[in-house]
Amino acid sequence: MVQLSRRALTVGAASAAFAFATDVAAEEVVKIGVLYPLSGNAASAGNTSKMAVELGADIVNKGDPELAKLMPIARGGGLSGLKGAKIQLVIADNQGTPAAGQNQTLRLITQEKVAAMIGAYQSGITLTASAVAEKYGIPFVNPESVAANLTERGFKWFFRVTPVAADFAKAYSAFLKEQKAAGRKVDAVAIVHENTEYGNSVAGVIADVFAKEGLKVMQNIAYSANSTDVQPEVLQLKEKNPDVVLFISYTSDAILYTKTMKALNWKPEIMMADASGFNDQAYVKSMGREVEGLISRSAFAPGKPGSIAAICEALYKKKSGGDGLDDGSARSLEGFLVLADAINRAGSTDPAKIQAALKATNMPADQMVAGYNGVKFDAKGQNTLGSSLIIQMRNGDYVPVWPKAKATADLVLPFKGWTK
């Protein structure tokens, strides 16, 4: 067997990729690498994201008559810009480790010759996987990782569709200022956050944005998420009695806070949560009825019947056999549609042309599955139009209440909480 040097292999692979790229129209297929945690402890989230991307490919390849009236890309019959080329997904498991994510991306790019990548859920894996794509000059679309540093690396091939903490903070502050204008008391805000990377960074960003927007954060309580007891924390809140409390918590601590607040019978005028634990189905099912009127955020709301979101929700339910879209899977689907739209406009599988098309992306709010104001990337590859819906707990389930245009129910304040 002939021994090939690594350089020769790389050159060979690159030229093969180039050859593939030029005559793709004849093949009538566009390969997209899909990288998600299909095993490991984030497997359930990874599998819903994978299913959402598969739904996206179905929408492009097979189409949906109802959706086609609202979204041109859903006409079916593949990508019109590439003479009807079909999208072929090449799915890989990142196994929940940055190293596997890196290896799988390398395999998808050099062996499967994908034209673009999408993934990878966990910020830490997106970090390593996108570095490989950057090196090979393959566009990497990231629908759901929120770590701030991902778009601070000066990458040219990385595009993040999801909003990040700063966007959430702006949504919260706009929401609260609107309540203030309506005559509600929001003068004193308390932020209660768990003290690892997630809680600390998000709390920091929110405090900064609130300070700039003139909202007064009078109390900042950091705690450990695996505490056995949160009575002192709730008593601290009781002592200062803030108008608004914003929780940045995981599931177990969200449950403890809810139970403890009920036991010590203290509630603020407005109780808010930064999704996460408070949006976990386990929390919603067990505690939902104790927190009537709780405010949280979500990138997704089913919306009014006949809307893009409602149709996609119905299609997804058919595919999953029950569960609807949620905050995570809706963002994955949105990310995929952004990539498909860019490839369509590029009219080519040449990575450089797809990159240029992604840079020129300008999708309006009325084309969104997720509740964004649209998609438009800045020089760092961050979507500048990402935003969140404000949702409220009603009778044990969340409904969108803000902004008005996307609300399906009226906002009801003050926070009612437990009823008995």
């Binding site: 705690y223 505490s227 056995t228 601290q236 177990s252 403890l256 139970k259 036991a263 386990a282 067990s286």
Partner: protein, 288 residues
């Protein structure tokens, strides 16, 4: 800051401490009786908690049903653990003892993950009764019940060990198993009894803790650390020491979290812990 609020913090701490004592007594008993550290202790508590969850979801039973059932189930589990595992590894080196019960912990934890799933389960708050106000201070029904039972169970275990002939025989075995055997005591029977009692006390603790805490397969990890600290602080093998240590830790934790800040409470608790052990390595009520 009002005095009422401060009193509320202390009361919360005392109730929390009584619960700590409740789920530490079983660990203390086994440690004192056999010089074996049961690393699966947290998982015993976790299974007691799941017993309460299952009793409630399957037959709508509150703690009056789940506490005796959990006592029997986890007591039996203790005896099984003794005869099938602990009895054998006690003959091995120290490392085998540590890894043996640690392996049992992992087995039980991932077994629970398999059977019950990773989701968090909770019991309704009104299972025990609502919170009530006494002298301006709020008492949570479920915590008062757990605290009271914790106090009673600990005192009963202490009386059993110090005032009954069974207790004397158990202590004799722990002092010198061979000498006890020469006196006509069967060491294995006494040790199995210790595991049964410890398991039952731990099962009771789990069933009561479940009324105000969340239940998940990994909850044992969170609770076990507190149990180990409580037992070490109270004195190895002293059941009454665990009660005193539990109350101390509960109050120190609550006060420091309230006055200094929640993230610092562990620093203060462990500083107190290290200081006490510095001056009394045998723990508050342990004997050298």
């Amino acid at each position: 800051m009002t005095t009422t609020l401060l009193l509320q913090v202390v009361v919360s701490g005392l109730l929390l401490g009584a619960v700590y004592a409740l789920f530490s007594s079983g660990l203390s008993l086994i440690w004192g009786m056999m010089n074996v550290v049961n690393f699966a202790h947290g998982e015993f508590v976790m299974l007691g908690m799941y017993t309460a969850v299952v009793v409630w979801t399957a037959m709508g039973g509150g703690p009056w049903a789940s506490v005796p059932i959990a006592a029997i189930l986890i007591g039996t589990l203790g005896v099984l653990a003794y005869f099938l595992l602990v009895r054998h590894i006690m003959r091995g080196p120290m490392l085998a003892q540590i890894l043996g019960t640690f392996g049992l912990a992992l087995f039980l934890r991932y077994g629970a993950l398999w059977v019950f799933g990773a989701n968090f389960k909770t019991l309704p708050d009104d299972l025990v009764g609502h919170s009530f106000i006494l002298g301006g201070i709020r008492f949570e029904g479920s915590r008062v019940l757990a605290g009271a039972v914790g106090f009673i169970v600990t005192v009963l275990l202490h009386l059993l060990l110090t005032r009954t002939s069974v207790g004397s025989r158990m202590l004799a075995v722990s002092e010198d198993a061979t000498a006890a055997q020469l006196m006509g005591i069967r060491p294995q029977r006494m040790q199995a009894l210790a595991w049964a009692l410890a398991g039952a006390a731990t099962g009771i603790a789990g069933a009561l803790v479940a009324t105000f805490f969340y239940t998940s397969p990994t909850v044992g990890e969170t609770l076990a650390i507190v149990a180990f600290v409580t037992v070490a602080l109270g004195g190895f093998g002293s059941v009454l020491g665990a009660l005193v240590a539990g109350l101390l830790i509960g109050v120190v934790e609550s006060l420091s979290a309230f006055l200094i800040g929640p993230v610092y409470k562990d620093v203060i608790v462990y500083a107190v812990f290290v200081l006490v052990l510095w001056f009394r390595p045998q723990g508050l009520m342990g004997t050298t």
